[in-house]
């Protein structure tokens, strides 16, 4: 048991989670503050017979893992803001062609080169809408290393279940901080492998015909079924089509397969929500300070609660509306100018009671920063 306890950076916890989930193939390009993920995997992957390749840029990195996923591998890439921007076109391709893959974005200050060595949560909406066109996406995050590990495993499970890219939105603070990590025994966390078709060779296989549950059994490239994969609107054989009905059905399928399963996909943690008057909503590293505030004020008898989101997209609006019902105020704690705040306001019954506690200067948000907002809301001044 003792060898399963490590003292690691968050980036290493992500690596451990990916390997636990069965990662076979990683392609990446160095960028602060995610580089440790590539460095560690360049050593760890070949030891288990997996493959690591350093590509010429982030665009190529995402393209390469999509190619490797098609041959039947569990795949991942890791980057930060500028690299994530470069990946957006290929991300849309993975959505359209329904290729399971995991994309880690260890967020840093932006826009542009921003503050590479400081934390931020500025890519929340880019994860949602960065690629062009209507689509659904899964994005997840975590505030501590144990959760980084388990959320990473979950990201692979969801990618393989729904044939979709899954974005892990970690940040510099969690990525570089060192903390205890207990690596579960094999089998402790269930792993999901993609559905593979049972259609025999020589029989007509429809790679893009969804089952009733929205899932599509795959056939590995190099196997007995030869089919076409394209970013164009395509029919059930994977061939391009401009038929209005085909386009409509494909768009509905791509969105519905995730948006109709928000509650299944949503992961969150709650602290003292049952009687909370003031409810904090936070995620990622910012949730650490929010948690501190809540724990601390509860000891003084103040009715504060925390809803820590681990799934940001698809946005669990119904759950949030439910949890926020009855709260005097809702404070969204995040390291940006209110990116998730907007979605929370749209979700709740009383958007006028939703406030923002944030920092955008590269400095990590403190419990005092959050308390200041709470004092203002309560009319006590700063």
């Amino acid at each position: 048991m003792s060898e399963n306890i490590k003292f690691v950076q968050g980036n290493e916890a992500c690596v451990e989670g990916a390997l636990y989930a069965g990662l076979d193939f990683f392609a990446g390009y160095p960028i602060t503050p995610s580089t440790e993920i590539a460095e560690l995997l360049s050593a760890r992957l070949p030891r288990k017979g997996g493959r690591f390749i350093q590509m010429e840029d982030e665009i190529a990195s995402l393209c390469a893992i999509i190619g490797a996923s098609l041959t039947g591998n569990k795949v991942m890439t890791a980057t930060s803001g500028p690299g994530f921007s470069l990946m957006q076109e290929a991300l849309g391709y993975a959505v359209m062609a329904e290729i399971p893959c995991v994309i880690v974005n260890v967020q840093r200050g932006g826009p542009s080169t921003g503050i590479p060595t400081h934390g931020s949560q500025g890519d929340v909406n880019q994860a949602r809408w960065g690629t062009h066109g209507d689509h659904a996406i899964i994005a997840m995050t975590a505030s501590n290393h144990q959760d980084v590990f388990s959320v990473t495993v979950e990201a692979f499970n969801l990618a393989e279940t729904y044939r979709t890219p899954v974005i892990l939105l970690f940040d510099e603070v969690v990525g570089h901080m060192r903390e205890r990590l207990v690596i579960p025994e094999p089998g402790d966390i269930p792993l999901v492998d993609r559905l593979r078709t049972s259609v025999k060779g020589g029989v007509d296989y429809h790679p893009y015909l969804p089952r009733e549950d929205g899932r599509l059994p795959m056939s590995d490239f190099g196997g007995v079924h030869r089919y076409n994969v394209t970013g164009l609107v395509h029919d059930m054989w994977g061939f391009p089509s401009a038929e209005p009905q085909v386009a409509h059905d494909l768009m509905r399928h791509l969105v519905d397969k995730l948006e109709n399963r928000v509650n299944l996909i949503a992961r969150y943690k709650e602290y003292y929500l049952e009687d909370a008057e003031h409810l904090l909503i936070s995620y990622g590293s910012a949730a650490r300070s929010a948690r501190h505030v809540v724990d601390n004020r509860r000891m003084r008898g103040e009715r504060l609660g925390l809803l820590e989101l681990q799934t940001l997209w698809p946005f669990p609006a119904d759950m949030i509306r439910e949890k926020c019902r009855g709260a005097k105020s809702v404070i969204v704690v995040e390291l940006n100018m209110g990116q998730l705040l907007q979605s929370v306001k749209l979700a709740v019954e009383q958007p006028e009671n939703v406030f923002l506690a944030n920092r955008i200067d590269g400095v990590f948000i403190t419990p005092q920063d959050i308390l200041k907002i709470l004092r203002l809301i309560r009319g006590k001044g700063v």
Binding site: R51, A60, T230, G231
Partner: protein, 253 residues
């Protein structure tokens, strides 16, 4: 999909002849393409086909090849696809010497978008984005590929169909990064804009303006373009080298 007189169908013909001659199983071939007229070639073949995004076909192919090195990777690209937006992936795939067959279907124009100049058009060419004639210099694919590290480099044309099939066969057999430039006619845009005539005239131009490598004709007329195999050398292949890394790492752990 392709216009009447387009040379891309001839390239497809040569490629299929090469594959047939090699006796490869269709299950062993993955064809990856990007975006453009050339890229639609994947829709006409019964291989594993991956029609991707503009310029990135070689990056996708690298992931397929690295994860399943026993598969044969064929990547047909247009001149803009391969060397404008895809130029970086092109030189890096060549540098790695990864076992992929890259085919540049060079018609010196962007056809799909209606006739804009490409990095292979060259000065003096007329295009919808060069209405006063093009001032951009063009790449020499042979020189570029050789300098970037490709270990098989060849050029042929849609007039020389037998040579094309033979070169493609050798390129697929070659263990390493292979580049085959095929001059192919676009009568619809390049031909019309540049008064190059119809498809037969354009194909005849390839006959009259190219010559085998090192021929007497080339010495007499240096303006002729050489065709044939320029580079064919043995060098460590990327996936083989990575297999050695895996072996070393697995022993060490």
């Amino acid at each position: 999909m392709w216009c009447p007189g387009c040379g891309h169908g001839t390239v497809l013909n040569g490629l299929l002849q090469a594959v047939e001659k090699l006796g490869l199983s269709k299950n062993e071939i993955v064809m990856v393409s990007g975006i453009g007229c050339s890229a639609r070639i994947t829709g006409y073949v019964d291989f594993h086909t991956l029609h991707t995004i503009h310029g990135r076909a070689l990056a996708f192919a690298t992931g397929v090849k690295m994860s399943r090195p026993e598969l044969n990777l064929i990547v047909p690209m247009g001149d803009g696809d391969a060397l404008a937006i895809g130029g970086n992936h092109f030189i890096h795939a060549a540098r790695r010497n990864i076992d992929i067959t890259a085919i540049v279907m060079n018609n010196r124009i962007y056809g799909m978008t209606g006739g804009q100049f490409s990095p292979l058009s060259g000065p003096g060419i007329m295009a919808t984005t060069a209405p006063f004639s093009n001032i951009d210099n063009d790449f020499d694919i042979v020189k570029l590929s050789r300098a970037a590290g490709a270990t098989f480099v060849a050029r042929t044309t849609t007039y020389h169909i037998k040579q094309m099939a033979d070169i493609l066969r050798q390129a697929i057999l070659h263990e390493g990064f292979s580049v085959v430039e095929i001059l192919t006619q676009c009568p619809t845009y390049f031909g019309r804009k540049n008064k190059a005539g119809d498809a037969p005239e354009m194909v005849n131009w390839f006959k009259d303006n190219t010559t085998p490598i090192g021929s007497k004709a080339k010495k007499e007329n240096p303006a002729l373009m050489e065709r044939g195999i320029f580079v064919q050398e043995e060098k460590a292949e990327y996936c083989d080298e990575y297999d050695k890394i895996v072996n070393r790492a697995m022993k060490g752990s």
